[in-house]
């Protein structure tokens, strides 16, 4: 009886895990959001064998001189299929790729653009170099064969912050930080579209594995000051106005407050993870699991400050 139950459960789990008929087709459908400007919107889920890591937003701008790509996606396959999707929209060549930051879902498609200059901030390039191998392994662990053949291809060029004109589009390359040590935001002055990378999330809880909350908040202020017409967040829907910036700021401030208060009240990590979420975040996709992850990433520093802030107890060994 037990063996049969086990077999049935395993079979069920495997059938759920196996990708549907068309093998490893991300079904990328570019969506036009402004003149010359197309985006590929990923789901607001965690990486699974069902979605193959397509949980991220990528974009491309078709200029007179060729196509500018912003982020290459979570796998070699995604990069290849993205490039094929671009070719269905335009016969212009891809002339440049930007990686907004070094997280795996944003740059592991670089292999598909091996013949194109790929540029990123210096900190991003360093991150791609140092963590890329582990990221690719982990992508394979989570997404399975969607990620087979994926290897980290490190961006070859440093992004120089400032204006860059390509085929009549004046791009503002803005070097920021906080989500990671290097976060590139790109504002297209021609269309008013802001490609915010993972500095902005909307209706999907922000991730913090390499975050500095205080720096991230400063970067959000800088983005808000741009007054972009439309924003493509790293995760979540394209939107007009500043909803993404505000929601991300709201989440980060709540996270900071919660961790600080918990440390001041003497809570341990696993206890903090169980704290209730505020109502406004309860239904946000992945809020609970990202909060748990953020406690792991960030709480140690808050805790140390709380222990350190009391001078007397720190005693020498006899």
């Amino acid at each position: 009886m037990m063996a049969r139950l086990l077999a049935a459960l395993v079979a069920f789990a495997l059938s759920v895990a196996a990708p549907a008929a068309a093998p490893f087709d991300y079904r990328l459908k570019p969506e036009k959001i402004a003149d010359d400007t197309w985006v590929l919107i990923g789901s607001t889920e965690d990486i699974t064998r069902g979605n193959g890591g397509n949980i991220v937003n990528t974009a491309f701008v078709v200029t007179k001189e060729g196509v500018v790509v912003i982020d290459s996606g979570p796998s070699r396959r995604y990069g290849e299929q993205m490039r094929a999707a671009i070719a269905r929209v335009t016969d212009k060549p891809v002339v440049r790729v930007f990686n907004t930051h070094h997280h795996p879902d944003h740059f592991l498609g670089n292999q598909a653009y091996a013949d194109v200059p790929i540029a990123a901030l210096p900190a991003t390039r360093a991150g791609e170099r140092d963590d890329g191998g582990a990221f690719a392994d982990n992508m394979y662990r989570m997404a399975g064969d969607w990620a087979s053949g994926t290897e980290p291809q490190v961006a070859q060029q440093d992004v120089k912050p400032g204006r860059l004109t390509v085929g009549g589009h004046e791009f503002e390359l803005i070097a920021l930080e906080g989500h990671t040590a290097g976060d590139l935001a790109i504002l297209d002055h021609r269309t008013g579209v802001l490609f915010a990378g993972d500095l902005v999330f909307l209706d999907r809880a922000p991730t913090t594995p390499h975050a500095s909350v205080q720096r991230w908040l400063k970067s959000l202020d800088a983005l808000a000051a741009l007054g972009a017409k439309k924003t493509l967040p790293g995760h979540g829907p394209v939107h007009a106005g500043s909803a993404g910036i505000e929601q991300t700021r709201d989440w980060l401030k709540w996270l900071d407050q919660t961790l600080m208060q918990s440390a001041a009240n003497g809570l341990d990590m696993a206890e903090v993870m169980r704290l209730p979420l505020p109502e406004r975040f309860e239904r946000m996709p992945l809020a609970r699991s990202e909060f748990e992850r953020s406690v792991t990433h960030l709480y140690g520093a808050y805790e140390l400050r709380a222990l350190d802030s009391v001078a007397l107890p720190v005693l020498q060994q006899k």
Partner: protein, 251 residues
């Protein structure tokens, strides 16, 4: 596959209410051996009053936070914490004495595993609770990170601590500087804190525990004790090389 196992554990946990008291609700293949090894095959009742809080997924396999919470369980003498699939299974063996029987700490987790609290009450009976944690791996065989810092040896066994008193109870949080090497990383012998106690001003133990290699580097603990007023608590212990821990935590 780990997810499958975890899902299976859940399914069986739900089914567990109608099964014999000693069937493992976490359905771990290691359990029968562990029961023999650590409890001499004594019968174990899985009890919902024993809660093990831990993240579903170990985001950092070097620091997996665990809280053992025991609600309304009288006369707890011992809390033995084990992780079934760790290369070193035993995490700690806690005698609460005057303290509340729950505690918090962090562990290294090598792979997906149940983390269990095995609880012995005054009548000698064993009760248990636990939870599956999924892990990316590498927690136990990676070398400790602090050894690369030049001053780690000077800081060895230093204690940081703080007490939160509310008149009835006091929470004590401690961080002890120690590499907690498992002996599984190539070329680095096992080096870990073995014994720890909190004693009152007369030197009587208020709680005691034996600790083992899977505890995280620079281990952090939380304990809950009766409020003893404005009396400093003393933290004493030693590691497996005989280095002593002795510090006072001011209220």
């Amino acid at each position: 596959m780990k997810k499958v196992i975890a899902a299976l554990g859940l399914a069986l946990a739900l089914a567990g209410t109608v099964q014999a008291a000693d069937a493992d609700p976490l359905n771990s293949s290691r359990w029968p051996d562990l029961q023999r090894e650590y409890l001499n095959d004594a019968p174990v009742a899985f009890d919902p009053r024993i809660e093990v809080l831990a993240p579903k997924v170990a985001e950092d396999s070097m620091n997996v936070p665990v809280t053992v919470r025991l609600k309304g369980l009288p006369d707890v003498k011992r809390v033995l914490v084990i992780a079934d699939f760790n290369p070193i299974v035993k995490v700690l063996d806690f005698q609460p004495l005057l303290a509340q029987p729950g505690l918090s700490f962090r562990i290294k987790l090598q792979q997906a595993s149940p983390i269990r609290a095995l609880v012995q009450t005054g009548d000698g009976n064993w009760l248990a609770g636990g939870v599956w944690v999924d892990a990316a791996g590498g927690g136990c065989t990676a070398p400790s990170t602090g050894r690369s810092a030049p001053d780690w040896a000077q800081k060895l066994n230093q204690v940081q601590g703080r007490v939160w008193r509310d008149g009835q109870n006091q929470r004590v949080r401690l961080r002890i500087m120690h590499p907690m090497d498992t002996g599984l990383a190539p070329g680095i012998p096992a080096f870990f804190i073995e014994q720890l106690a909190i004693v009152d001003d007369k030197g009587d133990a208020m709680l005691k525990l034996e600790t083992f290699e899977p505890l995280s580097e620079n281990p952090v603990f939380s304990f809950d004790l009766p409020d003893t007023g404005a009396v400093a608590l003393r933290v004493v212990g030693r590691d497996n090389n005989g280095n002593r821990i002795d510090a006072k935590v001011q209220p």
